[in-house]
């Protein structure tokens, strides 16, 4: 059991100071902006909660939030099952294990804007590999700068390409930790592959899958750079996710008050959903 005393605070002090400097001061700046109006020159007027009301009632925010939930929902619905399937099919030992792990982890180590640029080059209609293949070999008209559906397919495929490996690696770590005795027992009982998965593998992967779902939710909900570089939020506003819209308001139009209010609402939603996921997935852990 853990030692019960207050010495722990000395150990966490450096972390506390550094993270507080980086988190609290900027967060207070955002709170400060969110309740004031400015016309430049550092002159501010008290605005109260008007910005929050304005954001919560604006159709633009609702639309961006809807697109964000659609995007994150699609990402989770594709990446989690796909990641589990690939992890189940991976070799458990031998020469190919490190080869698989290293090649699969590679997309995650590419800078995010390079990922966007890479997919842009990959999907250009006449000179990109995928764009050329779709248009000229398959004869499907595909141009993500014109067609919102194509743009959506592209950003979702890009994210699947980029992050499914995270789910694979996590599930794989859970799978290799299962002792052989479990499988032998299942074999003696004549268990089908499905019941092995349902009663042995899935429960053993629960912790790592919780981490996977939480990380994928947080990161896909906050995604900015890759879709911004790839589509710029277009065509029209069809792929303008929350972060992209936020940066447009804050740095494009320089509407600091509404942008700050939107930031806080955005952060609150992320926190709330993460907490919900976490509580739901760990609620039987108390045993």
């Amino acid at each position: 059991m853990k030692t019960q005393n207050q010495y722990g605070w000395y150990f966490v002090l450096p972390v506390l100071l550094l993270v507080a400097f980086n988190a609290l001061i900027p967060m207070m700046t955002v709170v400060n902006y969110s309740v004031q109006e400015t016309f430049g020159d550092n002159v501010f007027f008290w605005q109260g909660l008007d910005w929050f009301e304005q954001i919560l009632r604006s159709d633009r925010f609702h639309a961006a939030l809807g697109r964000q939930f659609l995007f994150t929902g699609l990402i989770l619905a594709i990446e989690i099952p796909l990641g589990i399937i690939i992890a189940l099919a991976m070799p458990r030992q031998g020469f190919w294990v490190p080869v698989c792990l290293v090649t699969m982890a590679l997309p995650m180590l590419i800078p995010w804007n390079v990922v966007g640029a890479m997919w842009n080059i990959f999907t250009l209609p006449e000179i990109g590999l995928l764009g050329y293949f779709m248009n000229n070999t398959l004869g499907i008209s595909y141009d993500m700068t014109q067609d919102p559906i194509a743009a959506w397919v592209t950003i979702v495929t890009m994210d699947v390409w980029h992050w499914t490996s995270l789910v694979v690696l996590l599930s794989y770590a859970g799978l290799v930790s299962i002792p052989d005795a479990y499988y032998q027992a299942a074999k003696i009982d004549g268990a089908s592959p499905w019941s092995v998965f349902r009663h042995i593998q899935l429960p053993k992967m629960k912790t790592v899958l919780t981490i996977a779902i939480l990380l994928r939710f947080m990161d896909s909900f906050n995604i900015y750079t890759e879709p911004f570089v790839l589509t710029g939020g277009g065509p029209g506003n069809s792929t303008t996710l929350l972060s992209i819209d936020l940066v447009k308001i804050a740095l494009g139009q320089f509407d600091l008050g509404p942008a700050a209010a939107m930031s806080l609402i955005y952060f609150a939603i992320t926190l709330l959903v993460s907490w919900l996921f976490y509580t739901l997935m760990t609620k039987d852990d108390g045993k």
């Binding site: 722990g8 972390v15 099919a89 070799p91 995928l130 900015y224 936020l246 804050a250």
Partner: protein, 265 residues
């Protein structure tokens, strides 16, 4: 068995296709790229790479990125080690709340912090320095490092600490000469993750720098807009950003699966 291995093979093929295309593009001339589709480079050229290695605005981008990423990794690990030890060994007032608060910093969208960070680091006179980016990236890397290290440390039985104290070790000597070697895989994995997230992040790095500490990724976005359609050059720069990542994965390849599980399997 044969059928089963088809799934990972297809998946890896899917992962490699866009990377192949980027690398292939980097060996083509601009003329060839714009004139039409070709699966392999027809006129193989190293011109794009020559430009990058001879133009200081390009190669300094790489040096800047490597400096702040290394700085961030060192700071994050040094600060996270004692904190992770505290979370894994002591129970103190507010420890769970503190741990959760640390994790919430990973949930904050970087876009939220871009403008306040610019103002904060300008105010303390660190704008456009490597240290500014390294410190800013601590926001999401320290919580992650604490989380991973805590997972690995909790796997070490407490008896190890107690035996060392009975043998007359002081705490610092125990920590450096006994405890650290025991969890060195965890330190490697945590360092890998700090490197990774600092290397791939662009929004904050771009916001906090102008000229002197500009990261390679920002140099690329500038070129993409100003030079118009220099796709070959862009592809070559992109290809070079993959290499440091590939090198660091190689070092942690045996721990990578456990590392992604944050030491919690």
């Amino acid at each position: 068995m044969k059928k089963r291995s088809l799934i990972p093979i297809l998946y890896i093929l899917f992962l490699m296709l866009p990377i192949y295309w980027l690398v292939a593009m980097s060996f083509k001339t601009t003329n060839e790229i714009l004139s039409g589709f070709s699966l392999f480079p027809q006129t193989f050229t190293l011109e794009n790479y020559r430009v990058i290695f001879t133009d200081p605005t390009w190669y300094w981008g790489y040096i800047n990125s490597i400096i702040y990423v290394s700085l961030n990794t060192v700071i994050s690990i040094i600060v996270a080690l004692p904190a992770a030890y505290a979370f894994s060994r002591y129970s103190f007032l507010g420890d769970k709340q503190l741990f959760f608060w640390l994790l919430t910093n990973r949930m904050a969208p970087a876009a939220v912090f871009a403008l306040p960070f610019f103002q904060l680091y300008s105010a303390v006179g660190l704008f456009d320095t490597h240290l500014a980016v390294a410190l800013a990236h601590c926001l999401f890397n320290i919580p992650l490092a604490v989380w991973i290290l805590e997972g690995f440390m909790s796997g070490v039985p407490k008896e190890l600490d107690e035996t060392a104290y009975v043998d007359g070790y002081s705490f610092p000597r125990f920590f450096v000469s006994i405890f650290l070697p025991t969890i060195k895989a965890g330190v490697g994995v945590a360092a890998f993750f700090c490197f990774m997230f600092s290397w791939v992040e662009l929004l904050l790095a771009k916001t906090l720098t102008a000229v002197a500490a500009k990261p390679i990724a920002a140099t690329m976005t500038k070129t993409a807009s100003s030079a118009g359609y220099e796709l070959g050059l862009l592809a070559a720069a992109g290809t070079l950003t993959i290499i440091p990542g590939a090198i660091v994965i190689y070092f942690v390849r045996n721990y990578i699966a456990k590392g992604f599980a944050l030491g919690r399997v």
